[in-house]
């Protein structure tokens, strides 16, 4: 094996060394419970406060508008169920899209069983939600619209400003799952019409198991996890101090990268990867939008072969990739996202996602461009549908 090339940053990112260094004191040394009044506790409280500042600065929120959670999925659940239970006497209609992450979709489906009414908006072939579809779907009893900022499987970035403005006009709360976007795209919640927004540390070089929910001042939600009243009573439980400190540092580093436009490097490499693959491999297509997409995200479907065998062959060459969403790759159904953009099953089965990171190099991309075509070729040679040449 020549190299190790990790191209699955949409699934998770390595913890940045600087982030780990920031976290380390909070395990065994400054290990206090932030709720304790003694010196150990006060030190931990300070650290949590600082992290809240850092995370809020990443999206230009107020620190008091950020609550820390036990991950992105949890934050999605808190936001959606939190609004649903808070507003259920006002209305029970919620709007979402067909290509949301399961943390949003399955939450909505559960609410449907509990007596809520869910509208699932379709998307076009690029995975974009059309603002006019949203406008048509809003009813007098609509209490929440939840549409992700950017898709994890196909990278498409949504027209968040337009979508949010429609919600604002209609007086409906707007939640966006920005797990894939936050830290990678500049987001300013003072400028964008967003009421609640989900983030996860582990998608921006922070640790797993910690997320955050932005809740605009004045927006009321019912807590999902009751207890000691931490995080303004909205997410009880002893704070994951080290994890939160890590998130803070990761957010601060991401703010820096965004300010310095370092994501441009990723975008350029991604474009080389996309262009190279489409050029070198026949019967390949890009999934998602060509330009309105995450700067680090490339995703494809290759005819005549199946995604799992493709990614395991790549794995054997040291390349870490995914097919569809990591969360559902145990399943044999093709991804709901690929079906929603209109791909037939047999094509959707041949999906591959390559997501770059801040440390991905030219050489990494060269390595993939050299090896991926061979792998596709060899699998096609085995396929009853493959071309023979």
């Amino acid at each position: 094996m020549n190299r190790f090339v990790y191209l699955d940053h949409s699934a998770t990112t390595p913890v940045d060394q600087k982030v780990l260094e920031a976290m380390l004191p909070f395990f065994s040394m400054d290990f206090g419970n932030p709720n304790s009044l003694h010196a150990w506790g006060r030190k931990a409280r300070q650290a949590v406060d600082q992290a809240r500042d850092e995370v809020s600065r990443l999206i230009n929120a107020e620190p008091s508008e950020i609550i820390f959670t036990g991950g992105g999925s949890e934050a999605d659940n808190i936001a959606i169920k939190g609004v649903a239970f808070a507003k259920k006497d006002k209305g029970r209609h919620i709007i979402t899209s067909a290509i949301e992450h399961h943390a949003v979709l399955d939450t909505c489906k559960w609410l449907e069983k509990e007596g809520f009414d869910i509208t699932i908006l379709p998307v076009d072939e690029y995975g974009t939600i059309r603002p006019e579809e949203l406008r048509k779907a809003i009813r007098p009893d609509t209490i929440l619209v939840t549409i992700h900022f950017a898709n994890n499987e196909i990278g498409t970035v949504q027209p968040i400003e337009q979508l949010g403005n429609i919600c604002r006009e209609q007086g409906v709360l707007f939640h966006t799952d920005a797990v894939q976007a936050a830290g990678h795209i500049s987001i300013d919640v003072k400028k964008l019409p967003i009421d609640l927004m989900t983030m996860a540390a582990h998608k921006m070089y922070g640790p797993k198991g910690v997320g955050a929910l932005y809740i605009k001042k004045g927006v009321k939600i019912v807590p999902l996890i009751h207890g000691g009243g931490q995080e303004r009573g909205l997410r009880s439980g002893t704070e994951n101090t080290a994890g939160i400190v890590g998130f803070g540092k990761a957010a601060a580093l991401a703010s820096d990268r965004l300010a310095k436009e370092e994501t441009e490097k990723e975008r350029n490499l991604r474009d080389r990867l996309i262009d190279g693959i489409l050029e070198k491999i026949e019967d390949a297509m890009l999934t998602g939008h060509r330009t309105e997409r995450l700067p680090f995200h490339a995703s494809f479907c290759f005819r005549y072969i199946e995604g799992e065998s493709l990614l395991l062959r790549l794995d054997a060459l040291g390349i870490g990739a995914s097919s569809g969403s990591a969360c559902t790759s145990g399943s044999l159904e093709p991804s709901h996202v690929l079906l929603a953009i209109g791909l037939p099953h047999e094509i959707a089965h041949g999906s591959l996602r390559l997501t770059l990171g801040k440390d991905t190099s030219e050489e990494d991309i060269d390595y993939v461009l050299e090896n991926l075509p061979k792998v596709v070729e060899s699998l096609r040679a085995m396929s009853p549908y493959g071309k023979r040449g």
Binding site: E306, S331, E333, M382, Y385, G386
Partner: protein, 137 residues
Amino acid sequence: MYTEKLMQLFMNPKNVGRIEDADGIGEVGNPICGDVMKIYLKIEDDRIVDVKFETFGCAAAIATSSMVTELVKGKTIEEALKVSNKDVAEALGGLPPQKVHCSLLAEEGIKAAVDDYLAKKGKTKREASETRQCAKA
């Protein structure tokens, strides 16, 4: 999730390809479900003298295809029909639960190819096995 044995066969499958003048060809599975196996048999005196496969599918589908061809090669038709999905799975050192259907597909692939051979010879076709729905994880 996969055994080493399975991964080895997936990386270096045996009997890949087609037999141009095959005596029996069986195609099972469905591209909609994400796996299709095509089995080619060369038969002399009711004995399988050569066998090849083409598979569209996951690592388990490819490995079970390869394994089932190994298991039936050189056997009589009657013996080959007794090779069960369990035999295939066992020979691979086991399969994860959500991939058991691949071994079923392999078993069915052989049966379909034998059926094709028997039909061509004008012999009675065995009772057709039902088409299954796509497996669910």
